[in-house]
Structure formats: structure tokens, C-alpha cells
Symmetry: C2
Subunit: 290 residues, 2 copies
């Protein structure tokens, strides 16, 4: 039933993006701040009805934190390795005409990991031909996701609390007082990426305080340096071969920071359009389901 129109929503914690899709084409899109945290208890049916009414009452396919236990309805997790048909086979439907995509979990040996929302983008990037079927993909952010794709499936993944750690340090750590200045992929950032190759993170972070006390850091550069330590540590742990390509689903500042860190860590970043990846992934799920 490819071609039938539907409404796709990438519904996250703090915002959501809605796409009206006909065939493989996005005929309308909107973004607002109505993430799941902004929806009052019991408020999802009303919020969804309003969204649906604005887009001709079409059926809806939702992905992201809306399917978590803090969202509307827990859509569970399918275990990795997972492909788009696995996601399509485990949709949950809280209301007639509305389905939610499950997340993906990794639960082998001593290491557990979970994702919810990123799986549509990751598998969609392969579906759209934006990344090869065997590739390392990265979605930077509060909780950065690194996915190993094998034969077009999401074979394994790792989440790092990179963005959350930066926010924690800046707001609450002793070195938070030093973390003035804007963050960009500048000299201080690159110095942080380089430094984390020599030193473990807990020691390198205290070094920011010591450098400040000893007058060895230019004012206004510590935030970028700490960002470099964290993103550098994240990239170095994941890039295991020289020249490793990393398909980066990001834009703006995060794309600049991760591209620079990946290069310093010996890899090569390839930018991927994350909206196009999402549309390709969600459309494929819709087609399989229909």
C-alpha cells in the first residue's frame, strides 16, 4: 500500500517534528516544542487528535520517547540485531489508526543498552542509501548513539552520556566555574580532543581547574576544552581503525564538533541528513505495515 498518505511524528523528550508523507514525499512538515515532557498526564489522546486534525485526519505512525514509559504508551524494545521489518512487526497501537514504533535494546553479556527514536533514523539512513549497509553511524547529543550497521541491520550500538556530562559539569562541578566561553570547533576544543588521548577523563577534567589556578589557560576557552575532552573521549573509544568512516547524523554545531574530533581521533566524518533518514525509515515501516 505504498503511496497511501500518513502522518509521521518523531516525538522526543523536549520537541517533536511532524511530517505529512505521501508516497515517499514529504508534503508538509512542522516542528514544535511539544515534547513528551510538555504533555500533561492523560493528555496524549487530545494532543494526538489535534495534530491529526491539522493534517486531514490521516493515520499516524509515531516514533521516539512517546513510546517510552514516560510517554504515551510503552512500545517496548526489539533486540539488536534489528532491521526495519522487525520494527514494523512490533508496532503497538494505543488507538485505532495510530501506531508507535518500538525502541531497540542491546542485552548481551554484561553490557546493556537501549535506544528509542534513533533506530528509525539509523536504519532509514541505510534504506535511503545515505550510508552503506556496513557502516559506523553516530548521532551525537545528550546521549550520543554509535551504531554498527551490518548487512543493512542495526547490529550493535553504544550510548555515551557525552552531552549530559558536559551539562552536568558546567552547571554543578567545581570546574563549572571555569567553563566560561562559547563552544566551537576551535583550538581549545581540538586541544581537549588531543589531551584525552594522553590522560583518563577523571584526571583530565581536574586538570582544567589546575590550569586555571596556574594561569595556563586563556580566559573563555575552558568550556570548549572540556567539550573537546568529552567528545574526544567519546570518539576515541569508538574509532578503532585508522581512517574509519563515521556517518554522522547531525548538523550545525554538533556536526562541526564531532567532525573535528573524529578527524583528530583518526577517522573520517561523512555527514548524513538525519531528516531524510527519518523519512526513509518511517516510510519503509509504514509500507511494510500497510
Amino acid at each position: 500500500m505504498s503511496g497511501a498518505a500518513f502522518i509521521a511524528v518523531d516525538w522526543g523528550t523536549t520537541n517533536r517534528r511532524t511530517y505529512l508523507i505521501e508516497g515517499a514525499d514529504v508534503v508538509a512538515t512542522e516542528r514544535d516544542e511539544m515534547g513528551i515532557l510538555s504533555i500533561p498526564a492523560g493528555g496524549f489522546p487530545k494532543a494526538v487528535a489535534a495534530l491529526r486534525a491539522r493534517h486531514g485526519g490521516l493515520p499516524m505512525l509515531l516514533a521516539g520517547m512517546v513510546g517510552s514509559n514516560r510517554g504515551w504508551h510503552d512500545a517496548g524494545y526489539v533486540p539488536a540485531p534489528a532491521a526495519l521489518p522487525d520494527l514494523a512487526a512490533h508496532l503497538v497501537s494505543p488507538l485505532d489508526g495510530i501506531a508507535i514504533v518500538p525502541g531497540v535494546c542491546r542485552d548481551v553479556g554484561r553490557r546493556q543498552d537501549v535506544m528509542r527514536g534513533e533506530e528509525v533514523q539509523l536504519l532509514g539512513a541505510i534504506e535511503a542509501g545515505l550510508a552503506p549497509a556496513d557502516a559506523l553511524l553516530c548521532q551525537p547529543g545528550t546521549h550520543a548513539k554509535w551504531a554498527t550497521m551490518e548487512g543493512g541491520t542495526l547490529a550493535d550500538f553504544t550510548t555515551a552520556m557525552t552531552g549530559e556530562m558536559f551539562a552536568l559539569l558546567k552547571a554543578h562541578a567545581l570546574i563549572g566555574g571555569e567553563m566560561a566561553g562559547e563552544v566551537d570547533a576551535d583550538d581549545a576544543f581540538c586541544e581537549g580532543v588531543a589531551a584525552c588521548a594522553d590522560e583518563d577523563l577523571l584526571a583530565a577534567l581536574f586538570g582544567v581547574r589546575a590550569a586555571s589556578i596556574l594561569g595556563r589557560r586563556a580566559p573563555g576557552t575552558a568550556a570548549a576544552y572540556v567539550s573537546g575532552l568529552l567528545i574526544g573521549s567519546d570518539c576515541r573509544a569508538r574509532i578503532t581503525q585508522p581512517g574509519q568512516r563515521v556517518h554522522l547524523l547531525a548538523n550545525g554545531l554538533l556536526a562541526r564538533l564531532y567532525s573535528a574530533a573524529i578527524a583528530i581521533a583518526g577517522g573520517e566524518a561523512v555527514l548524513v541528513d538525519s531528516h531524510a533518514a527519518f523519512v526513509a525509515g518511517i516510510t519503509r515501516i509504514w509500507d511494510i505495515k500497510s
Copy 2:
């Protein structure tokens, strides 16, 4: 002039310990919560006078954060490698009959580090024969200090924000909600120490959240596991040879945690009495000065 009585104070951020020393003997000691943060602006002369009056008006030798720019009087830093005579040669005297011991800094190449207060204990441990002249010493805490002693001098050192990171995560991180339960050197702690050998810290910390969502962690064990990840990461970064001895200036819970982590990381912990080390170090400084 060894043998003349004096008052030694190990004056930290949140508490202080006072020793009345005659010769090499401690004839009285007291501990209170009057760390430097509890002293109002301009209040040090009064606080010191009260302490001095309680101990017969003897001269005083102060060490620790009282000599920082947030304390009474900035006593500066002497550069590593440093020995007790170097500290004695750089005492500062804010008032007649009162001297403050400087801190030690490490400022070579790209890495800076500072300590203030720990240097007396570290060098005192060697002075007292509690550790050999060539040794790796560790003082765990909010900012854990690891010191390489060579020929009886404090040759180099590294500070890790291990304890501060635990407090930050527990109070403010997403995984803080999971970090219930008491921390001790139990199975969950040892599991954390083991896990951090396989995985980088930013990923291992997010794994705590994933394990909780997937029901793979017994309730009440996450705090000990996270403590194991952090202390394990700290110890693994510092223990570079199998069987490495670590002279541990700690007691109680921190001694148990670091002893367990050092053993799992392939080292061997040797407990050192940190009060005896301080007394030996400060007495030697006093003798050199007199």
C-alpha cells in the same frame, strides 16, 4: 630546635584537625567542622587566636586549604619534584608566630596539577618510614591524589575528580535516580571495577540506565556499581604494572573501596596511617624551619 612544642593544623575545606606536638609526640589532638568555608570574611585572625589560646599560645604551623586563595592567606605552590625542605623554605607568615605551608604544583608540558595539604601527608609518610622512598601513594577522596615518590621526594602526581564525579552523578544525572543503596566493597562495586576495563566511562555510565530499564540490575545496587566504575577507572589509569604496590592513605569506607579496586586492577594496596604521616611531615618542616 627539634623538641620545641608547636601547634600543627591540617586545615581543610570542611573541617580541621589540630595537633599539639612536643618533640615527635602528639600530646593533644582535636577535630572540628571549622573548615575554611565556615570562617567568615576577615575571620581567620580571630579563629586562629582562639585555637592558639586553647593550646598555651604556642607557635603554629598550618597546612591545607587555609593557604589557598579562598582561605586565610595564599601560600602559593612549590613545583614538583619537591621535598620537605622545599616546603620549609617557602613557608609564608601572615602573623608573627604563625606559618603556612605552601602547596605543590605540577606544571610541565601540557599537563598541570595542584595539591594543597596532601603534600605534608605524602612526604610525611616517607619521613615516618610508612612507605619506601620510591613508591606510588594514593589519597582517595573528592579529588583523589596519586603521587609518585622518587628518592623520598614528591616527583610527580595526578589528581582525579573521582569523589566529586560520584556526588555529581548521584545528585544531578539521569542515572542519579537509579543510584539508590549504600556503597561498600561488595559484589556490585567489584562488578563496576571489572566493567570499566571493557568500556569507556561515558558509555559505562549510560549502561546503568539501560540495565535498569531492562531489569538487569538488582534494586539498590547501582550506587555501588557506579562507585566501582569511577574508582575502578581511577585505579586502572594509575596502576601500570602487575603487582604494583599502592600505599593508601585512607581508612574506613574509602580504604575498603580503593583496596578492593586496586586488587582487581592488578595492584596491591598497603594501608598507611595518614594522621601519623601528617605528624611526621609537619614535625620535620617545623624542625627545619626552627
